[in-house]
Symmetry: C2
Subunit: 320 residues, 2 copies
C-alpha cells in the first residue's frame, strides 16, 4: 500500500482527457498495492483505479500485466479491466511515469479468513488458471527457485539480527530446495501473489482478484502452494487443515490435480514459504524511509516454513 | 494522511448496521487526514468517509467537531455532513475506537494554487465565519499563543540539529509575539487548518472544506493569517502578493475587516507561521515509526516567518 507520486491537477486533467471517461470529480490516494501508487478516482462516468507504476515494476513487463487483465476479464474472471485510451492504448504516461486506469471492483478483502473464503478462492484460482490458457504472452517468474540464492546472498548478513540461527536455517533449506525442486509440472499463467488483501468478497462470494503485478508463467501447483501459506494459517501462525481442505477441494473440482502435483505439494509449499521469507527479510533489512508501507515480519514465513518441513504428504493439507 | 487502524470485516459490518446506509460494497484506506484513519467507503446507498479517531484527537472534543460540521452543513457551507446512526447519534465506536461517518464531497485539492483559488477560498472562509455565529458549543484553540512556549521547550534541544541558530531565532520571536499579541479582536469559530489539502475544487469552484479537527473559537483574522501562510507562498517560499490580494479582497466583500484586524494582520501572520514552525519542528523531531505520513519540513515556516517579520503594514498583503 503506497502513494509515492503526487500528480499535479494539470497533469491529471491532461491524462484523463486521453480517455473517454469524462472529467475527474475526485481522486484519493489509497493504501493499496505495495509496488505502485494507487488512486481511487471518480469521474463523471464512474469509479476507477489509477495506478502509477513506480520503480520496482519493470516497464517492459507492463504490456504482459495489462494484456493479462484484458484477457482474464474478457474470460469472465473478476479482475480489473484496463481502460483503453481514445487511441486504443491502455498503458500510458502521467507526470512522466507509466500509468494505467483500470475498472473499480466492488468488495472488501477478508481480514479474517473462513473455510468458506478458502473454498471461494480455490474455485476462482482454478478458473483463472484455466482461463489463462489462451493468453499468448509469456513472462518468467522473477522470484523462482533460481532467484532465491542471490536474494539470500544480498541479505544474509542481516539475517542473524532478525533471529539468531536464521542464516544457517535458510542456507540449509535452500540447499534442499535447489536439489529437490521439480523440473516439470503443469504450468500456465499464475497470479503469484494471491494474498487476502488482493482478493475481494461481497456477501460471502469472491467478487474480485486484483494486483496482477507479480503474474507470470509458472506451475499451477506453485500458486496453490502460495495460497496455502497466505490463507490457511491462523493469526498465531498455526496451520488450519480445514481451510486447506476447502481451498484444495474447491480448486480440484474445477481443475483436477495430477499425481505429480499432489506429490510435490509439500515441497512447493516450503518453496513458497522461502520465497516470502526472503523477500520480507530483504524488505525488512532495506526499509525505504518515507514509504507509506510498514515492512512485514519475515519470521511469520519462517514459522510457516518449519510447518511445511514437517509435512510428509498431501494428507497434511486435507487431501485424501 | 494516515491509516492506523485495521477494522475487521465483522466489526465493520456491525458498525455500519447501526446506520441506515445499506451494506458496505467497498472500503479503502485513504491517504488523507494526518490525525486520524480515514476510509473511503461505498455502500448500497452512496459514498462516505469513515473516520476513526486516533490518539491525537481528544474524545471530549469530538461532539464539538461533529456538531460544528452539522451546523455548517445546515447553513450551506460545503463541508462533510455527519451521518447519524439509527439512534440519532453521529459519534459512535468501531473496533473500540471513536468513529464517525460523514458525507463524501466531490472535488480535488489544488496542488498548484492560482489567485482564483485564493479568491474562492477567501469567499468561502468569510461565509464559514459568518455561518458559525449561531453555533453554541465552544472549544478553545489548543495551539494559541500561550501554547507555543511549552511546545518550544519540549523540542528546543533538537532545533539546532534542524538549523544552526534556529533555537535563538525562535526564542526571540516568541518573546516578541508574547509581548505584542493582541487581546481583543472579532472572534468566532475558525477551521484553524485551512491548508490546500483540506479544500476541494471542481471546475475552478470551491466544492468542499474538510478536516475540521483543529476547529476552535479564535479570532477570525488569525484564520486569515493561517491562510496567507498556507496559500500565498510559491513552492520556492516566495510570497505572492497577488494571491494574498485575491484572498483578502474576496473575504472582505463577505465579511469586512475591522481597522484593528487590519493593523495586526502582519503580527498574526508571524504568529501563524510560528505555530506551524513549532508543530512541524515537534513532529520532525518525534517521527512515529510506522506512521504512513512523512513529516513536513519545519524550515518552510521559518522562511515564511522571516518574510512576515519584514512586513510593516497590511499593504504588503495587497490591501489598500
Amino acid at each position: 500500500m503506497a502513494v509515492y507520486t503526487e500528480v499535479s491537477n494539470d497533469d491529471l486533467e491532461r491524462f484523463v482527457a486521453e480517455y473517454d471517461i469524462g472529467q475527474v470529480t475526485s481522486i484519493k490516494g489509497i493504501a493499496e498495492g505495495v509496488e505502485n501508487s494507487n488512486y481511487l478516482m471518480q469521474t463523471e462516468t464512474g469509479t476507477f483505479i489509477l495506478t502509477i507504476y513506480e520503480k520496482r515494476v519493470k516497464p517492459q513487463d507492463l504490456p504482459f500485466f495489462l494484456g493479462l487483465m484484458d484477457h482474464l476479464a474478457a474470460a469472465g474472471i473478476p479482475c480489473p479491466t484496463p481502460i483503453h485510451g481514445k487511441d486504443g492504448q491502455a498503458l500510458r504516461q502521467v507526470s512522466g511515469k507509466p500509468a494505467a486506469i483500470v475498472s473499480f471492483l466492488d468488495g472488501v478483502w477478508p481480514k479474517g479468513r473462513t473455510p468458506s473464503h478458502c473454498a471461494e478462492l480455490g474455485k476462482a484460482v482454478a478458473r483463472m488458471h484455466v482461463a489463462g490458457s489462451g493468453f499468448e504472452m509469456r513472462r518468467p517468474n522473477d522470484l523462482r527457485v533460481t532467484a532465491w540464492r542471490p536474494l539470500f546472498d544480498s541479505c544474509r548478513d542481516g539475517a542473524e539480527q532478525v533471529m539468531p540461527g536464521l542464516e544457517t536455517e535458510i542456507a540449509a533449506e535452500l540447499d534442499h530446495l535447489e536439489k529437490m525442486w521439480p523440473t516439470d509440472l503443469p504450468e500456465g499463467v499464475i497470479h503469484a501473489d494471491l494474498f487476502p488483501d488482493n482478493v475481494f468478497f461481497l456477501g460471502g462470494k469472491l467478487s474480485g482478484i486484483i494486483d496482477f503485478y507479480f503474474a507470470c508463467n509458472d506451475w499451477f501447483a506453485y500458486e496453490i502452494a502460495i495460497c496455502l501459506n497466505a490463507w490457511c494459517f491462523e493469526p498465531d501462525h498455526q496451520f488450519n487443515v480445514t481451510k486447506a481442505k476447502h481451498l484444495l477441494s474447491a480448486y480440484r473440482r474445477v481443475r483436477p490435480f495430477s499425481d505429480a502435483e499432489l506429490a510435490v505439494l509439500p515441497l512447493l509449499a516450503r518453496g513458497a514459504a522461502m520465497r516470502f521469507l526472503l523477500t520480507r527479510l530483504y524488505d525488512w533489512l532495506n526499509r525505504v524511509d518515507g514509504a507509506l508501507v510498514r515492512p512485514k515480519d519475515p519470521l511469520e514465513y519462517f514459522t510457516k516454513l518449519k510447518f511445511h518441513q514437517g509435512v510428509t504428504g498431501p494428507s497434511a493439507y486435507g487431501l485424501d
